[in-house]
């Protein structure tokens, strides 16, 4: 894996390029890692994946825990690794034990032998040895070491323990590291700035995975915690984070100098029947066709279950070139949602992913033009204004 920073804006936000062995093209950062379940998107089947913008959509994230009930590492090895098993040879895979959708860290049950997660198969304790066995068999392009993540309200003692364990497990993981595959050292420390700093300083490796976010810290305390980590990391190495899913949270991460993001946002929107509609171009746009009677909508997304869309024969977003908007109408998706048809989620995941990738593209453009700080301010402000306007109008 190769990474290089190409541009900086507002001091810390950076635009870069990452190149992975299996991907034919380089991928620009900051970028979004698409969520998967067992290596494939949750609803978008592999032949439809190629309809998403490339190479933006070529980085996928998975958790080895997805495979805790089979196939065995031996079988996966004999198939040739994850890329081979899921038939996505020209994609890049990032392995992280935590998956913000269905493998959530359960710090209460984590102990000195391993990290505990709540998964669809129940609570699982995974030890560094087992974790590395799975990593070795799956051969992801990059992987994070096993971490003991704690939420923001953990006390100092627990925080310190989490840092000690994470550093210890880092060594154990690296000792069993397979040839090939970039290692991202995990950094934790909860809401204790000093611990975060300590962790960041102890770990020096090819890339960094920043853990312990998206577990309950507030929007206000997050920037200082993030900076405590990123200020102490070497600038030339990529930084990945989990748990910052919402657009405003992503912007906070970018402002602190993070390069790779996962997001559960798309998944939650999709299963809720929502479609992203916030404007992607950075010029001030006059509000279009906004339906005040739409239940649960604001100017960032629409709720396609709402009856107001029953006869709406227009696409979700007028000039969107995703498969869904090019082929289907709001009326059809409204119908599919009402009759509980799987195709609704497939079409929504395609559109929402496409749209969110567009958001990341605007972030990169803003950084390259040197105006990221204004971009962030304007974005956050306009969303606040819309929400305020909605409150007043109701």
């Amino acid at each position: 894996m190769k990474f290089a920073v190409k541009a900086l804006s507002s001091g810390k936000a950076r635009a870069g390029v990452v190149h992975l062995g299996s991907c034919p093209s380089s991928i620009e950062t900051p970028c979004l890692l698409l969520s998967t379940r067992k290596g494939l998107p949750i609803f978008i089947s592999p032949d439809l994946l190629s309809s998403l913008p490339s190479p933006d959509s070529n980085l996928l994230q998975f958790s080895p825990l997805h495979f805790s009930e089979g196939p065995s590492p031996k079988t996966i090895s004999s198939i040739g690794g994850l890329h081979q098993m899921v038939g996505l040879h020209e994609y890049g895979f990032a392995a992280v034990a935590r998956d913000s959708i269905q493998c959530l860290p359960e710090c209460g049950s984590t102990n000195k032998t391993g990290a505990s997660f709540e998964t669809p198969c129940g609570r699982r304790l995974i030890k560094p040895v087992e974790y590395m066995e799975m990593i070795t068999s799956m051969k992801p392009n990059l992987w994070a070491t096993l971490a003991d993540e704690v939420p923001a309200w953990a006390n100092n003692k627990r925080n310190k323990t989490s840092v000690d364990r994470t550093v210890k497990w880092l060594d154990e993981c690296i000792a069993r590291s397979p040839a090939g595959g970039a290692v991202f050292g995990s950094i934790v420390g909860g809401s204790n700035i000093e611990e975060r700093k300590r962790c960041a300083q102890e770990i020096i490796y090819a890339g960094y995975w920043i853990g312990g976010f998206g577990l309950g810290e507030s929007m206000e305390e997050r920037p200082s915690l993030l900076n405590a980590v990123t200020d102490n990391l070497p600038k030339d190495w990529p930084r990945m984070i989990c748990g910052l899913g919402l657009p405003e949270e992503v912007l906070q991460g970018v402002a602190a100098g993070v390069d790779l993001f996962d997001s559960a946002y798309i998944y939650h929107l999709t299963i809720g029947g929502f479609a992203l509609t916030f404007p992607l171009d950075r010029t001030e746009k006059i509000d279009y066709n906004y339906q005040l009677s739409d239940q649960g909508s604001d100017r960032t997304k629409i709720n396609l279950r709402a009856t107001v869309y029953r006869k709406d024969a227009t696409p979700i977003v007028e000039d969107c070139c995703c498969y869904t908007c090019q082929n289907h109408t709001k009326a059809y998706i409204n119908h599919l949602l009402n009759v509980h048809e799987m195709l609704a989620q497939i079409l929504l995941e395609i559109h929402n992913t496409h749209h969110y990738l567009g958001f990341f593209r605007s972030i990169r453009e803003a950084i390259k033009e040197g105006c990221f700080e204004q971009f962030q301010k304007k974005f956050v402000q306009s969303r606040r204004e819309h929400l305020a306007a909605d409150v007043v109008s109701v």
């Binding site: 379940r37 067992k38 494939l40 998107p41 949750i42 609803f43 089947s45 592999p46 032949d47 439809l48 495979f67 009930e69 089979g70 196939p71 065995s72 031996k74 079988t75 004999s78 198939i79 098993m85 899921v86 038939g87 669809p120 029953r310 006869k311 024969a313 498969y323 082929n327 289907h328 109408t329 009326a331 059809y332 409204n334 119908h335 599919l336 009402n338 009759v339 509980h340 048809e341 799987m342 195709l343 989620q345 497939i346 079409l347």
Partner: protein
């Protein structure tokens, strides 16, 4: 009449033909996937085109409930609503009301969130009451009594806009005996006349009549002759695929195909299993529909030349072979049984991939039937793969005898 049916090749009673409909020129024999509510579960229209789907069946009953035929009409018809450029067929709506209770049992215990609404509305249905006027049933939405007449069925189907529409028939299960069957058969003929009179778009939509009469050859004969007299664009053989034994099943199909006109398409409704389709094609039928391939996919079962493969089974956990090494579909080319095993019944993707494979299998079966009917060899190849020990069921041997196809090379006895 809005279709052309041209026989391109024959082998005894079996025919390979081109069926040209307003939206698509199809090759028969063909299998029609069932897209109950305006979608095939888990597949996009692009994927359906790619695997060679020619006609999709839509259920009038479900579509009339949601989103309603008026809304579909207002938005330009079902083709436009679901963005399907090829052909569509709608059933009359009668069958769902009467026979849903059986489907409830089949789909019942294993429902996922995607099945839920279907089960929910079916479980609210009481047994329908059939009179000369039409089918009376209790609306699953608000419990009010509703009446589906032949006229209303055709009006709804006119609004939906499918290339082929079905006459409302009085369908009884073949497991029932007695005067009810005769009553149903004659009523079907009377209702066909009402359907013909109510049909407002004969130049865009083809109205097919349905042959009823249970398992009684005399009644079936009367019904066939009555429908042929009405000179309809095509004919369906109904009332089968409901639990009758196979020996009775193939005899009814054989009798009807022998009596129906040569130059019009013949559609056996609700069929079915690959073996049934091969037998019916040998006897001279052209079109089929069934929920089986997609439904069984959602329960983790794949269709293969040897029969079925249960991907849920523990034996699959570490099996690195593809589902079917002879299948050219995207699923078999890219995935192992082990991987599909870890997905099925747990993740939506499992259903999607298996549905994709199963439909590909059925459509490939259709293509193979069409292209090799002249050779006649296909039947033997198919039977040899499914019954490698030569234990071909007796009903199949009897049917092939009548069809004039020599399968002695496939049978051990």
């Amino acid at each position: 009449m809005a279709l052309r049916f041209e026989v391109l090749g024959r082998f005894n009673r079996a025919r390979a033909a081109q069926l040209t409909l307003p939206h698509f020129a199809c090759q028969t024999p063909l299998f029609m996937p069932v897209g109950t509510q305006g979608t095939i579960k888990g597949l996009t229209t692009d994927q359906l085109e790619e695997i060679g789907c020619q006609i999709i069946l839509g259920n009038t009953y479900h579509l009339a409930l949601r989103p309603t035929s008026e809304l579909i009409d207002e938005l330009g018809g079902l083709h436009k609503f679901m963005n399907w450029p090829r052909a569509l067929l709608t059933d009359s709506g009668g069958f769902q009301m009467v026979s849903c209770i059986t489907n409830l049992y089949v789909a019942g215990i294993f429902y996922t969130q995607w099945h839920f609404a279907y089960i929910f509305q079916v479980s609210l249905l009481h047994l329908a009451d059939i009179t000369e006027k039409g089918v009376t049933f209790q609306s699953p939405v608000d419990g009010k009594p509703m009446l589906l007449t032949p006229e209303e069925s055709i009006q709804i189907q006119n609004r939906i806009g499918a290339d082929i529409i079905m006459a409302l028939d009085d369908v009884v299960r073949t497991t029932i005996t007695g005067p009810r069957i005769e009553e149903a058969m004659y009523r079907t003929l009377r209702w066909v006349d009402r359907c013909i009179a109510a049909h407002k778009r004969p130049h865009e939509q083809n109205l097919f009549g349905i042959v009823q009469g249970g398992l009684d050859p005399v009644l079936r004969d009367i019904c066939v002759r009555g429908l042929v007299d009405r000179n309809l664009p095509g004919y369906a053989i109904g009332g089968l695929a409901g639990g009758e034994d196979k020996d009775s099943f193939w005899r009814v199909v054989a009798q009807c195909t022998a009596a129906l006109p040569e130059d019009k398409p013949r559609y056996v409704m609700g069929v079915g299993y690959p073996l049934d389709i091969v037998v019916c094609s040998a006897l001279g039928a052209d079109m089929y529909d069934c929920v089986y391939p997609t439904r069984t996919a959602r329960f983790g079962t794949a269709l293969v030349p040897e029969g079925v493969l249960k991907l849920k089974h523990n034996a699959m956990v570490n099996d690195t072979r593809p589902i079917d090494p002879t299948c050219a579909c995207m699923v078999c080319k890219n995935y192992t049984r082990a991987y599909i095993h870890c997905l099925v019944t747990k993740d939506a993707m499992g259903s999607q991939l298996l549905s994709y494979h199963n439909l590909y299998y059925m459509l490939q079966l259709s293509r193979n039937l069409h292209s090799s009917i002249v050779e006649g060899r296909f039947v033997c190849d198919f039977l040899q793969k499914m019954f490698p020990k030569g234990d071909v069921p007796e009903w199949v041997c009897n049917a092939m005898d009548v069809a004039g196809i020599d399968i002695s090379s496939c049978c051990s006895s």
